[in-house]
Structure formats: structure tokens, C-alpha cells
């Protein structure tokens, strides 16, 4: 794919991903060997690190760069009674193991109760550690979230966690690049979550395999950083290694002034460099996909992989119409698991629970979007509604704005920060057969609790669903009584 310029200038136009990659080359691999890539930021949590620390200990190796490493507790942490000892013994052991390892190796750790504790992918950006043009890894597939800043960020396995701890590098083959261009204006009520769900449905849950996705186009540029993080977060659900968005003024504005953001001259140097990162005119991608923003609608999943999605105004599809035999079998199995009949309008699907949280949608803007719909309303009878902020800081911020009151008045539970029901490693789980509208990222069988059924939705759809008890968008809600002191849900499209 290398194109040499007619003028003889060897420099070819490069993509954002290629630029970040090239600037982290420690050793260029030859004869089929991988490149050795430097890692700027290593995020650590309790689930995928214990065996890595063990490996270091066995070899007598230190963590090479403690100043590029940070840990938090998130997957196992309870979201209630956080001042009491963790009841589940194995969860407690895992957290205590991280605490011991952090202490022994000198890794900075934000423990439960600390104001910087939270989901690792919420904490990094909020501290200003995530910034354009860096490489970020974590033993967690949703590390792709950080690509929203124009960083190269991807999940790794525990062996690689140990490798990064020991060497601050990773041997890797370059990824292929895929441009996903979304042009035009999103309709009110259509959010970043809907866009990424529509993209995954379009290219398939494996369509991004081997690629770094670069989201571009006017609809992407108009997204806030929170919206961009939602998009990149779910790149992995399309099978991609990473998602990226070119940094711009919105990015710089978000990073500026955060605790670890560069300051003074360093800031100026950084911004000057960051401005060089967007893909060059004429850069060649290995694949390209186009979407028209104006055609997109609120999107929900009906099946058990994130590619099995449909417009909220649509119906459960019929497997009979699927040509590929493997996919047809998967769809049949999914419908059986989800207990759904083909042709059922999605809006007729009644839920038992609504989960508002996870590294996909638990930032302050997500909570504001949810609050904008439920403010002044009461939740549907018999529906359990849980709102879980992504970090302790988001929780504080929400409380300072009075959102906690909005949630509890509505009838929702307001919890402490963590992964919570995204994967149910803590007590927050669905019971077998329970159906949930969830703002998280995976609808795999049993993901939110054994036998639980998950529909992936945006915060706005989650909120409207909590009001009506069936999958709904804010536009389905009756207007609030005249004279009520709160805003109308028509303003709820703010997230887009």
C-alpha cells in the first residue's frame, strides 16, 4: 500500500494510526518478526494482573516504569456498603492481592473508597493521563476507549501485562487500518452509542478483525469526548484491536488543566505535535466504510452478540432470512436464549431491569443524559433501575449537580463506582431469565449474570425504557404535566 510520490519525495501520506505506531518504534521487525513498540501508559486492575505480578516475582524482575503505570480496583468492587469488608471471599482475595502487589512493587493504586477509584477506562482520561499520540495498554479489551483521544490503545492478555511491566514494550505486528466515515448530522435523540451499535451491525461482530478502526467524518467531529469514548470503547465489539479518532480542539479542551495534563511549555509542545497527528490527505486505508448520519436511529440489540442489533423502531429479525448458515444457527440460538420471537416489535419487549453504567456509558455526560429523561418522572412498576457512576469522581460530580436526587426520586438505585452489572463479578447480577436494558457493551449469554438477557442501549433509551418498562426512546414518552418545573425530554438529545 506504500505509494511513492511522483516528485520523488519518499514520504507517503500516513494515517493517524500509522503515525502513532511509527513514533513508538523501538525496533523495526525484520523477516516476519514483529515490531517492538514502546508503551506510554499501562493501566492495571485486579483481574488480569495477579498472575503477571507472580511472573515478575518468579524471575526477580521489577516493574520497569512505575511512573507509566497506574492501578485501580473496578471489576470486583461492590457498589454498596463499600466501607465494609467485601463479602465474597474470592473477590476480596483478588482485591487484596492487587493491594499487596502494588505495595510490594511500588505501583500507584487507587483503592475502593479513594476519590480516584473507578473503572480503569474512566479514570485514565479523567486524570488527564490519556492524551493524543500516546500508546495505552491494559489487560482489558475495552482499552480501546482511550483511542477517542487519538491514542493507540488496545487490550492485552496477562502474559502481555507481565511483558509490559518488565520491559515497557510489546512485540506487535502492525494492524491494518479501516476508515469508518460518518457524515452528516445525527437526528435528535440519536447518540454515539446508537452510531457504534449501527456500525457493528453493519460490519459484523468480526468485521473489524485485525484492524484499527478510525472513525471520521462530520458526525464524529461533532461528538463530545464522552461520545467519542463510547464509540472507541465498542470498537472491540466489532472485533477490532483498537478504535481511534483524530484529536482536535474538542480533545485539547478536554485534556487541558486535568491533573496530569502537560503544563506550560510542555503543553505547547504537545499541542503542536498533536496537531500533526490527523491522517494525511491521500492516506490509504486497507478498508473503508461509509454511513449517513441522518439515516441513523436509536439502536438496540436483540441477540447475544453486539452485532445482532436493529433500529429500536424495528422488529426482531427472522433467522430464516440469513444466508450464512453459521450466522443463521447463531441467530436461532440467540433468539432461543433471549426468548424472543421473530417479528416482535422491539418496543414491545418488556424488561425487568435497567442498568445505567459501565466504561461505555458511565461518565458525567451519560448520567446527565439519563437524568434529562427521568427528571420529574417515576420508574415503571416492577423494573429494577440501577445507576452506577464510572468513577468515584463522577459520583461526586453528579452529586454536586443534584443528579443523585433525580435518580432516587425516580426510583433508581444510586450506587458507588465500578464495573458492576456490566459483567457481574460483584453482587450486581441479573437472575436467570431476567431481561435488562443495559448501557454496557456486551450482550453475551450470561454476561450480566447466569441466564440473564441483555439488550444493549444508549443512556437515553435506557432512561425511557426505565420509565415505560418496555424498550423505548424519549420520543415515546408522554409529555410531563404542564407547569411541572422541569425541562421537557425533547432536550434530551444533548449527548449527541
Amino acid at each position: 500500500m506504500s505509494i511513492s510520490d511522483a516528485s520523488g519525495i519518499p514520504e507517503r501520506p500516513r494515517t493517524l494510526a500509522e503515525k502513532v505506531w511509527d513514533d513508538h518504534l523501538v525496533v523495526k521487525g525484520e523477516d516476519g518478526q514483529p515490531d517492538l513498540i514502546y508503551i506510554d501508559l499501562h493501566l492495571v486492575h485486579e483481574v488480569t494482573s495477579p498472575q503477571a505480578f507472580d511472573g515478575l516475582r518468579a524471575e526477580g524482575r521489577p516493574v520497569r516504569r512505575l511512573d507509566l503505570t497506574i492501578a485501580t480496583e473496578d471489576h470486583n468492587t461492590p457498589t454498596l456498603d463499600i466501607d465494609k469488608p467485601i463479602a465474597d471471599l474470592t473477590s476480596r482475595t483478588q482485591i487484596e492481592t492487587l493491594r499487596r502487589n502494588a505495595e510490594e512493587f511500588g505501583v500507584r493504586l487507587h483503592s475502593l473508597g479513594d476519590k480516584e477509584q473507578g473503572i480503569v477506562h474512566v479514570v485514565g482520561p479523567q486524570l488527564g493521563l490519556t492524551m493524543p499520540g500516546i500508546t495505552v495498554v491494559c489487560g482489558d479489551s475495552h482499552t480501546s476507549t482511550h483511542g477517542a483521544f487519538g491514542a493507540m490503545a488496545f487490550g492485552i492478555g496477562t502474559s502481555e501485562v507481565e511483558h509490559v511491566m518488565a520491559t515497557q514494550t510489546l512485540p506487535l505486528k502492525p494492524f491494518k487500518t479501516m476508515a469508518i466515515t460518518v457524515e452528516g448530522e445525527l437526528k435528535p435523540g440519536v447518540t454515539a452509542k446508537d452510531v457504534i451499535l449501527a456500525i457493528i451491525a453493519k460490519i459484523g461482530a468480526n468485521g473489524g478483525q485485525g484492524y484499527v478502526l478510525e472513525f471520521r467524518g462530520s458526525a464524529i467531529r461533532s461528538l463530545s469526548m464522552e461520545g467519542r469514548m463510547t464509540m472507541c470503547n465498542m470498537s472491540i465489539e466489532a472485533g477490532a484491536r483498537a478504535g481511534m479518532i483524530a484529536p482536535d480542539e474538542i480533545t485539547f479542551e478536554y485534556v487541558k488543566g486535568r491533573p496530569h495534563a502537560p503544563q506550560g511549555e510542555d503543553w505547547d509542545d504537545a499541542v503542536a505535535y498533536w496537531r500533526t497527528l490527523p491522517s494525511d490527505e491521500g492516506a490509504v486505508y486497507d478498508a473503508e466504510v461509509y454511513l449517513d448520519a441522518a439515516e441513523l436511529e436509536p439502536f438496540v440489540t436483540w441477540g447475544t452478540n453486539p452485532g445482532q442489533g436493529v433500529s429500536l423502531s424495528g422488529a426482531v429479525p427472522s433467522p430464516a432470512g440469513i444466508a450464512d448458515s453459521n450466522e443463521r444457527a447463531a441467530a436461532e440460538r440467540a433468539l432461543e436464549y433471549m426468548d424472543l420471537a421473530p417479528g416482535t416489535p422491539m418496543k414491545d419487549v418488556a424488561v425487568d431491569a435497567v442498568f445505567m453504567g459501565s466504561c461505555t456509558n458511565s461518565r458525567i455526560e451519560d448520567l446527565r443524559a439519563f437524568a434529562s429523561v427521568v427528571r420529574g418522572r417515576t420508574k415503571a412498576d416492577g423494573v429494577r433501575v440501577m445507576v452506577v457512576p464510572g468513577s468515584a469522581r463522577v459520583r461526586l460530580e453528579a452529586e454536586a449537580e443534584g443528579l443523585d436526587k433525580v435518580f432516587t426520586d425516580f426510583g433508581a438505585e444510586w450506587r458507588f463506582a465500578g464495573c458492576s452489572m456490566c459483567l457481574g463479578m460483584n453482587p450486581d447480577q441479573l437472575a436467570p431469565g431476567e431481561r435488562c436494558a443495559s448501557t454496557s457493551n456486551r450482550n453475551f449469554e450470561g454476561r450480566q449474570g447466569k441466564g440473564g438477557r441483555t439488550h444493549l442501549v444508549s443512556p437515553l433509551v435506557a432512561a425511557a425504557t426505565a420509565v415505560r418498562g418496555t424498550l423505548s426512546s424519549p420520543s415515546d414518552l408522554d409529555p410531563l404535566p404542564a407547569g411541572s418545573a422541569v425541562g421537557s425530554p425533547a432536550t434530551a438529545g444533548a449527548e449527541a
Binding site: V47, L66, T158, A166, N206, Q209, R241
Partner: protein, 198 residues
């Protein structure tokens, strides 16, 4: 890491596509802090069904898994590979693997070989005609044979070389210690630092 050259063992057919890592090992088993002893966790919820393929006596000693496309999608949990390995699998063949899973497999001595979708169907048919039949997997030649059937599988050169030699990645990387130090010396000051805590 143990060297891998050839392996012969009972092949089990997993006629499912998009087997995600939550199915290979449900999250509840990720709470352990050890790197071994995950055999009970493999396909834990599917194994509760007596009809599940690994519950059939013919496959009790299976060490080669032949699975549908998109095996190992979802989370980055290396536990998925540990569970397969601890259960006794040395090889997984599929027509498509999720990237992170394939990478993790290579690091733990589990061969993840990519085969043609047409071959996949052929292999399943051979196994199901003769449950308990063994397969021989030759990593050097990137070929597998079962009954009268010979098929090629794909695995990238570098992973194959490391598996054949039994080489550990960290040791290999540390041979470039001087280059890492040189790179660090020229890193810009604006790049993030987690310490000191502001």
C-alpha cells in the same frame, strides 16, 4: 515455555460459531489469582448440559478442539487460554479466531491454527463418523491429519517459531534492552507520567 513440534490426540468437534470468551470461561472464574487449575471453569455453563459435546465419553480425553468461526471473541481474558490448556487442550482449530485470543494462545503454548471453512466441515464430519478419533497436528509442516483427511492450517511465522523453540517473549525482548533505553532517552517531556501524584 514447553516446545511444541507435533501432537496427537483425540479431536472434539465444537459445532458453534462466535464462541466468546464469556462462554469459554464465565467471569465468575476470573476471581482466582493463580495461573493454573482452571480446568473446571472451561465452558462451565455449557458443561452443565449432559448433551454438551465434551460431556460425551468419546471426547473425555480430547486435546484438539475443532471449533466454528470466530472462536475467542470478546474479552482479553487470558484465562480462556489457561482453561483450555488446563483442561488438556493443546490445539484449537477454527476458521477464524479473535485477535487477542490468538495472541494469548501463542504466549501459552496453545496452538491456534486457522483452517478453511470447507475443511472445518470435513473435519467435523470425520470426527462425528468416528467419535474419539485422534488427530495429528504437525506445527513444523502446518498440517493436520485425521483419518484419511489431510488439511493445512495457518499460523503466523513468528508465533510458530516461538512455539517450536519454546521461547519466552520477555527474554527475547530484553535482548533489546539498549534500544529500549535509547528510546526512553528521547521521549518527549509532555508524555504522561503517573508519578508523582499531583
Amino acid at each position: 515455555m514447553e516446545k511444541f513440534t507435533t501432537h496427537t490426540g483425540v479431536a472434539a468437534p465444537l459445532r458453534r460459531s462466535a464462541v466468546d470468551t464469556d462462554q469459554i470461561i464465565p467471569a465468575v472464574y476470573l476471581k482466582r489469582v493463580t495461573k493454573t487449575g482452571f480446568e473446571d471453569a472451561l465452558f462451565a455453563s455449557w458443561r452443565q448440559d449432559p448433551a454438551f459435546v465434551l460431556n460425551q465419553p468419546a471426547y473425555a480425553a480430547a486435546s484438539v478442539l475443532v471449533a466454528g468461526p470466530d472462536f475467542g471473541t470478546g474479552s482479553s481474558r487470558e484465562h480462556a487460554v489457561w482453561a483450555l490448556r488446563d483442561y488438556g487442550f493443546r490445539v484449537v482449530l477454527s476458521s477464524r479466531f479473535a485477535d487477542i485470543f490468538r495472541g494469548n494462545a501463542g504466549k501459552q503454548g496453545l496452538v491456534a491454527g486457522v483452517i478453511d471453512e470447507a475443511d472445518l466441515e470435513r473435519v467435523w464430519n470425520v470426527i462425528e463418523a468416528q467419535p474419539g478419533i485422534a488427530m495429528t497436528v504437525d506445527l513444523e509442516a502446518r498440517r493436520a491429519s485425521i483419518g484419511d483427511l489431510q488439511i493445512a492450517f495457518d499460523i503466523d511465522d513468528y508465533t510458530r517459531w516461538r512455539l517450536l523453540e519454546g521461547l519466552d517473549d520477555i527474554g527475547l525482548t530484553l535482548r533489546n534492552e539498549d534500544k529500549i533505553a535509547q528510546f526512553e532517552a528521547r521521549r518527549e517531556a509532555w508524555r504522561p507520567r503517573t508519578l508523582p501524584v499531583p
